[in-house]
Symmetry: C2
Subunit: 404 residues, 2 copies
């Protein structure tokens, strides 16, 4: 096995994702797929190499400045490494001849590597130069329909963060280099966060301070004093109107059979950033905590120390039976379990390591495994509690664990 750890720096802001991080990321992507497909999203995959020509047409080639990684190919044609894909996806939709209003809305999304030449990459995956993002683009027949789609995608984002058990805020946001007229950020409140947010304690108003004209200290609706917090941006949605569709001529034929520009929205979720931010937000000083749904492994089994009384009393065999019965009753957990067979180490030492790796559940064959019937220690790490359960109790508890 490769040694512990989640990521390893390769060059500034570029990371190797180690096996547990890949597992967590793949689970997170599965949950995102479910949420995006539930609102009608179709998954595609757009190239990283984006032609300079397309980006010049939208004006972003110059506007993005040094954040854009740029290169030329052997024929001296210019490209950027896509940080987002408004231009490319709009050109794709524009190429669909005979697109009818009946086929709309189109919701196209991908989960791919993105690139941004950050001036100061930092905090690991929170601000890296190469990262994974889920980006969706919507194409609607009217502004009204597009605003409905916008709301539905925002609701899907809320559903995602709720399923992950992450406390989040949806705040008004600036449109920046993406453009458009309406924008929201999804933020995880955290001291380490780089964004300053203001909130109405009654829930009427929430905004990134960037959007405010000067100092706003009271809620525009109820007048109550706004509170301030810091946040980590994990999602960003934009209502774009025809900003990109007018450049690429992404049109459809309307009910009157007239060509009409599609009304667009775009929606990003930081995949690698959600991984890093959720650990940041949920963990305690001595234990890493993942959102249970996307923990790299759900379970760790710790058999007795070599030569201990518990080992003599067949503790390891009893623990193995728990695993076997679990694999039969809850097969999807079998591949999500790890056996820490470093039996030269004490249970305490291995339990400490397990906390560092963030298994939601740790099942230990401790002292009480010698009782009749045998009793196992089950650490519910995210709740910070330990339960003493017979095999049947362990199985009942674990049968409720969800895996995407």
């Amino acid at each position: 096995m490769l040694q512990g750890g989640l990521i390893h720096p390769s060059s500034p802001g570029c990371y190797c994702y180690l096996p547990p991080a890949v597992r967590a990321m793949e689970k997170l992507i599965k949950v995102m797929d479910e949420e995006m497909q539930a609102v009608g999203g179709q998954k595609l995959n757009l190239p990283s190499l984006c032609s300079a020509e397309l980006w010049r047409a939208s004006g972003r080639w110059d506007q993005m400045g040094p954040e854009l990684f740029r290169l030329v190919d052997r024929h001296n044609h210019g490209y950027c490494l896509g940080p987002t894909h408004e231009e490319v996806v709009t050109a794709l939709v524009a190429s669909q001849s005979g697109l009818s209003y009946r086929q709309l809305p189109l919701l196209l999304y991908q989960v791919t590597r993105k690139f941004r030449d950050e001036p100061k990459p930092r905090f690991g995956l929170l601000r890296s130069r190469e990262f994974y993002m889920k980006d969706m683009y919507s194409f609607d027949a009217s502004e009204e329909a597009a605003r409905r789609t916008y709301e539905r995608v925002c609701d899907a984002y809320c559903s995602l963060f709720t399923r992950l058990g992450l406390p989040f805020l949806k705040v008004q946001a600036a449109t920046g280099s993406i453009g458009g007229t309406t924008s929201h950020e999804f933020q995880l409140p955290a001291d380490i966060g780089e964004d300053r947010l203001v909130l109405c304690p009654q829930g009427h108003f929430a905004a990134n301070v960037e959007t405010l004209n000067g100092e706003q200290i009271s809620c525009p609706t109820c007048g109550e004093k706004l509170t301030e917090t810091k946040g980590i941006e994990v999602g960003h949605t934009f209502y774009l109107g025809t900003k990109y569709s007018s450049v690429a001529n992404a049109a459809f034929s309307s009910a009157n059979n007239k060509p009409q520009l599609a009304e667009m929205g775009c929606y990003g979720l930081g995949v690698s950033r959600i991984l890093a931010a959720s650990i940041e937000v949920l963990s305690t000083e001595d234990s890493i905590r993942w959102p249970s749904l996307i923990a790299p492994y759900q379970l760790c089994f710790i058999p007795p120390k070599r030569g201990s009384k518990e080992e003599e009393e067949e503790g390891a065999v009893l623990l193995e039976r728990v695993y076997d019965d679990l694999a039969e009753a809850v097969p999807h957990l079998a591949g999500d379990s790890v056996l820490d067979d470093r039996t030269q180490l004490t249970i305490g030492k291995r339990l400490k390591d397990a906390k560092k790796l963030g298994y939601p559940y740790v099942v230990v064959a401790g002292k009480r495994v010698c009782e009749d019937p045998p009793v196992f220690e089950v650490w519910n790490q995210n709740a910070g509690e330990v339960l003493f359960l017979t095999k049947e109790g362990v199985l009942e508890l674990l049968s409720k664990v969800q895996v995407p």
Copy 2:
């Protein structure tokens, strides 16, 4: 829905993968994950931006010439877009302090986008500039162990192509810019193939002609006349020895507690290329055929034409019942099914479209749906045959369909 098609060109050799292609690719990756993990592979994820420094140290920065996409960041540091990752993964392993021979072999793999500035991108995904590859790197304690690992990974590749139902050849190959001393290619025989292969009809010998010294016309083992065929390269394996580990000092402590360089191998499978090549190899003039296991969708249901006798006799409802019962009996097929409800079109027209999309099975509510009990037409596209079956017969047939 987005219109039909699998890919759409974005710029020369760079493609948008449309939803059916993404589905097929994700299935293929799942099968690869199974095979790689069965031989002990651990999945990680290495950055696309690879520092020029690392590539200069291995000598490949100069050696690769114009095939390498190169760029500089805002601090004028040089990078290439990784076409493979020997340098990066070896540096990662070298960074693991205290690596012991007991932890070996390490088999590390990823499935990521790769980049190569092809002089003449062509044949769609067969020779593109941005593509998906599964690349694995092995680290062993001795040459003997490394050669065993090499064989095991080659066997996993054979197993993969066998599961996909693709006729393949394993041939001796040149080591090219990757280096090392032993190399094999996995080739799909095809007229469109760009590689020339020679084979002993008895199976003693198979090689890419690139590896031969001059004209070799008879088998070195049995003397029989070699036959020639063309092939599409879909996999390539290399025994590397210490070529990269000696540069990065990727060492482990041996049984005698002495530092020793890891013996390496590397193993590539073209993910996007296998998709394109398998369609190329399996399809007929009027129907696209996928390896069944990775077809974007397994099933298409075609209800009767609007206003037809079969529609009046509830053909659509009867077909729906087949779907409902199938979803209950074989739940993993439910999400792999498409209903072609363009009932303004004839069954014949929709069946023709279904052949173009390559569903392994098409279930039609045709004329005989009016019989008692109703009989459905089931087209087994890959076998090129049609069966007439009752609902129970359809369910029995489809219950054998595998999805990864």
